[in-house]
């Protein structure tokens, strides 16, 4: 009460125009829900599976790797979702990028780095196509990228069978050894540290004396790096402001000079490129490409982004939130093996979590967009 009367005294000339209420801290942090969720998940598994090896170096690397793979595409999906669009073709793009790497390298004799660059240029092309179709036609991105989902998956299967007669392309492992850039996607980091910890007996060793967890997988570093980069983009750059504006109100944004079309197209390219990073990590790790790779990943990425606080309607969300969404996903999907719970329940958990997140986000949107 006293605060209120004081502020009225200070500027009594226009007291009617100053009922601006400060937003709750909570509302300024879309990632808060996912952060809280992650903590709950860790507490839960700490209690239920604390003594099972889930949180040993090896176990931790395992669930971090799963989280990281999803996180790479979830962060890009979150940016796109903040920009007001979806990309359902991410999963198919993963499979497509995989064979774009494997077929030229194995059947056409290209150097591996060359086919990796080829895969990335195909990603730019696919992302650009998605983007230009959505921007030019004004159709919902849901429909356009759903079409692309089928086109890409179908083309991946058809081309692979045509060229190789199979649906899998193995035999990449030998090529990885001497390639100048493959390590970017496949090398473990901090190997020395892990060996040292192993020699001290802090982390478990194999029989030959090497540590069970050999290092931090490249995917985890990609995940962290992309989250930091995306957050920097969103919060600190002009382009970030344009992403929020394009998703929040594309007509309004256009009317004040934001190049909405270009922003959206670049975000679609972003999701396709992220899918290709994912594909590189997987293909180089497994040493083979599979036409079915990335199946349903587009939906998991959307779940992670939504759990991370992105509104389905655009204009609001965070990259850190999406990264935590992916962490929850990876931790639960791996952790469930360490419990007595039947793993079939994982999908139930996933759906439930998404539902709670959407209801929560919807409540926030109403708070933010409605007067008062």
């Amino acid at each position: 009460m006293s605060v209120k009367s004081k502020s009225i005294q200070n500027k009594s000339k226009d007291e009617r125009l100053r009922k601006v209420s400060r937003l709750k801290v909570l509302l300024n942090r879309p990632e808060l829900g996912a952060l809280g969720g992650s903590i709950l998940v860790f507490i839960f598994f700490g209690i239920v599976a604390g003594d099972t090896g889930m949180f040993s170096a090896y176990g931790t690397i395992n669930f971090l790797e799963v989280s990281a793979n999803l996180g790479i595409i979830a962060v890009a999906a979150a940016l796109l979702m903040i920009g007001g669009e979806f990309d359902l073709s991410v999963g198919s793009m993963i499979g497509f990028a995989g064979i774009c790497i494997a077929i030229p390298a194995i059947y056409w004799g290209w150097p591996l780095w060359c086919s990796i660059l080829f895969a990335f240029s195909m990603a730019v092309l696919v992302g650009y196509t998605n983007g230009i179709l959505v921007v030019r036609t004004g159709l919902p991105s849901f429909i356009v990228t759903l079409a692309m989902l089928f086109i890409l998956r179908g083309a991946t299967l058809a081309l692979t069978r045509l060229i190789t007669g199979r649906t899998q392309v193995p035999g990449l492992r030998v090529l990885i050894e001497n390639d100048p850039i493959a390590w970017i996607f496949s090398a473990d980091a901090f190997k020395g540290l892990f060996s040292w910890l192993g020699s001290l007996g802090i982390i478990a060793l194999r029989q030959d004396g090497t540590p069970l967890a050999t290092g931090v997988p490249a995917s985890v570093l990609w995940w962290i790096g992309m989250t930091i980069f995306a957050t920097w983009l969103l919060m600190k750059t002009r382009y970030g402001n344009w992403i929020f504006a394009s998703g929040g109100d594309k007509l309004g944004a256009r009317n004040v000079g934001v190049p909405v079309g270009r922003v959206k197209i670049s975000l679609f390219i972003g999701t396709a490129v992220a899918a290709t990073i994912y594909a590189c990590v997987q293909v180089l790790d497994a040493g083979s490409a599979d036409t079915m790779r990335g199946f349903l990943k587009e939906l998991e990425a959307i779940v992670a982004a939504v759990v991370g606080g992105c509104l389905l309607t655009g204009g609001y969300g965070s990259a850190i939130g999406a990264a935590f969404g992916a962490l929850i996903f990876g931790t639960v999907s791996m952790g469930i093996y360490y419990t007595d719970v039947d793993t079939d329940w994982f999908k139930v958990f996933l759906g439930g979590m998404m539902l709670i997140a959407v209801i929560f986000n919807n409540y926030i949107r109403r708070r933010v967009t409605e007067n008062k």
Partner: protein, 264 residues
């Protein structure tokens, strides 16, 4: 006679077979508030959309500060200092006051690829500008969605002025506002004109237009019924001229009729 900031000469706009505007002429000077009046569908929005670069006129010419001009996009008009505050305000309610204020024209700091959005500077300018019109933004990172209609309108106008508008076009700025907030916004518009801007104010509401306007252009079914100076025009005459004035007279007669039959 001061020079015209903007001249519209014989502008026509057809949408296929629809004649939205026919030979409309209108001139705006510095410091002038030109009210554009007319009934629904009269072509007010179409007229200002041609001036703000959204539509290209089918015929006629636009002259900005003496030069004949063709706008290819809203950006072109903005670059010449013609800023439009649309009916929907072009504000994103989920975004903060600052982010809205600088949307599309963010202040930058740093060099090369590390140029970043100077949030601190933006916050300061936004709070200062809003403060000048009596809106105390305690937290510039608050979402615009939490502001009242009048505050939003003022934000959109002060943004346009900050970015160097010479001509300010306002589409129905007071239509959604109550009496008090409307008067705050109108006062602000007068202040902007006094500082040398040309203002085009579109409204249905004669009671909002008459006190602030210097001249009045009335559109009726796509045609201009002429531009009138305030001294030549009484409020009643203005009311009468707007399409619907007659109808209101008729309505009055009809109401009297009903009244009489009820009494009998």
């Amino acid at each position: 006679m001061s020079k015209n900031l903007v001249e519209f000469n014989n502008i026509s706009k057809f949408f296929g077979s629809v004649i939205a505007l026919k030979d409309v002429t209108m001139h705006i000077k510095k410091g002038q508030i030109m009210c554009l009046l007319g009934d629904n569908g009269a072509g007010k929005s179409t007229l200002i959309k041609t001036l703000s670069g959204v539509h290209k006129p089918t015929r006629g010419e636009i002259i900005v500060e003496g030069k004949k001009t063709i706008f290819d996009s809203p950006r072109d008009a903005l670059d010449l200092g013609i800023a439009t505050v649309y009916q929907d305000l072009a504000l994103v309610s989920l975004m903060s006051v600052t982010r809205n204020f600088f949307m599309g024209r963010e202040p930058m700091k740093g060099f090369g690829p590390f140029k970043t959005f100077d949030v601190e500077k933006a916050n300061n300018i936004a709070s200062e500008r809003m403060g000048q019109i009596g809106i105390d933004v305690r937290d510039p990172s608050q979402a615009v969605g939490t502001m009242s209609g009048g505050e939003r309108q003022c934000l959109a106008i002060s943004r346009a002025i900050y970015f160097g508008a010479k001509v300010l076009i306002l589409d129905e700025p007071t239509s959604a506002l109550g009496v008090h907030q409307a008067s705050v916004v109108l006062k602000y518009i007068v202040k902007a004109a006094t500082s040398g801007l040309g203002v085009i104010l579109i409204t249905h509401n004669v009671h909002h237009a008459y006190p602030v306007g210097n001249s009045f252009t009335i559109l009726n079914r796509g045609k201009s019924m002429g531009t009138f100076e305030k001294k030549d025009l009484s409020r009643e005459k203005l009311l009468g001229m707007m399409a619907g004035g007659e109808e209101l007279d008729k309505l009055e007669v009809e109401l009297k009729e009903i009244d009489r039959t009820l009494k009998n």
